[in-house]
Amino acid sequence: MLESIANIKRQYIVDLAAEGKRADGRNFDQYRDIKIIPNYLLKAEGSAYVEIGDTKVIVGVKYDVGTPFPDIPNQGVMTTSAEFAPMASPDFEAGPPGEDAIELARVVDRGIRESNAIDTDKLCIIPGEKVMIVFVDIQILDQDGNLIDACGIAAITALLTAKMRVYDEEGNPTEEFVPLPVNKTPVPCTMAKIGNSIILDPQMDEEMVLDSRITVTTDEEGNVVAMQKGMAGSFKLEEIMEAVAISKREGQKNREKIQKAISESE
């Protein structure tokens, strides 16, 4: 029953796509409206509220002081977690993060980590002993599709606006704060393959019927810093390269939105 309804919906969306159309009238390579509020919270060292259409997420950045990994004794640590709060979707359950939440957090994390966005050397307080642990916590409020891009935008915005406490040479906290050393703005762009069409920023109904999903994260220099095919299904080589090209172009637009929102909030 549920499956047959899904199949009817699927057919409708596939048929639309075959005609070059989407249910909400967007172009294949068009995002929904994006709203970015940096510094959304007081208690977090950095934060952002992001909407893509009706998808709503909040990211908060907090620190703790901890010990470095033995093999990188003079580097701080970033760790990214996502919570699929039962608020955000009838399909989300309370409990430890499921595989979807883990994949989301890891794809967002990888884009930031692999682009070397954070200068983790500067998070070292005392080499081998004390470093800063940066917690990037993702909270989903409303799941209306394309969580990866909403969370990726929120995460880098929260990091770009985060303040970091200064420690003195003995490793004691001072009252001084400086911006977190973030040098890049990696942005993920996610596309769905439905039938033979590649559509950007899938809305929930599209997500439910997609054949496959691809995320490409790019930096301001046009480099690709992370990719992830999601779900079942497959892509041709040329489709992947098309996704890379779209991501470079649309990622740059979203990067400008982030920068505009930050500069307006200051």
């Binding site: 977090a44 908060g60 907090k62 039962p86 009838p90 309370a94 916590d137 909270q139 409303d142």
Partner: protein, 226 residues
């Protein structure tokens, strides 16, 4: 003695309420109460899973209260702790008397309260928000549930403790009421109070609840008119 934020003893912090802020949830709301930022959602009435929890005489309520890791000064580990579980339980008990649960046997109403920023009084803000989300979800109710705390600070009974007052405070009495009947559906208290002070605090908190009640009705009117 002046209060930390210059309020009078019977004065609430600034409170802002919004109804219907989320798309997926059947009902939702957002409440800002001083520096508290709280979202609430309602799903249901829906099928009970697992089945054996279902009751043939009423809907069951499941209430999850959660603080995000970044809602407090020191990062909180994700996931429920004992405090959250207890607050979820008393919140459920505070809301159930107002809901016509007997109209929906064999079903379940799921309430989620997410604290994005915490600054004393989150459980009252959460109950207040959850009530708005219940109405937004179309759940039939006997009355709204309005919640507010009174407490003792600097030897005086005052309304709606802020964080500094709560930390150094002598007592805190969060309550919730159904304002039409003055039925108290949430009552907790910690600290040290004489019998008379308990009564004074309860009366002050009830007056705070009534102010909140008016704000709830206004927020619902903004959304639904009438």
């Amino acid at each position: 003695m002046e209060r930390c934020d210059g309020r009078k003893n019977d004065e609430l912090r600034d409170v802002h309420m919004e109804v219907g802020v989320l798309k997926r949830a059947d009902g939702s709301s957002y409440v800002e109460w001083g520096n508290n930022k709280v979202f609430a959602s309602v799903y249901g009435p829906k099928e009970v899973i697992p089945r054996f929890l279902a009751r043939n005489d009423k809907a069951i309520l499941r209430c999850k209260y959660n603080m995000t890791p970044f809602s407090v000064e020191d990062r909180k580990r994700p996931g429920p702790d004992r405090r959250s579980i207890e607050i979820g339980k008393v919140t459920s008990g505070a809301l159930e008397p107002a809901i016509l649960v007997e109209d929906y046997p064999n079903s379940m109403i799921e309430i989620a309260i997410e604290i994005m920023q915490a600054d004393a009084g989150t459980r009252c803000a959460g109950i207040t928000a959850a009530t708005l989300a219940l109405v937004d979800a179309g759940i039939p109710m006997r009355d709204l549930v309005a919640s507010c705390a009174a407490g003792k600070s600097n030897d005086e009974i005052v309304l709606d403790l802020c964080k500094e007052e709560d930390n150094s405070g002598q007592a805190d009495v969060p309550i919730a009421i159904m304002p039409r009947s003055d039925d108290v559906t949430l009552l907790q208290m910690d600290g040290i109070l004489t019998e008379d002070e308990v009564e004074e605090a309860l009366k002050l908190a009830m007056s705070g609840c009534k102010t909140i009640y008016e704000m709830q009705k206004k927020a619902l009117k903004v959304k639904y008119g009438g």
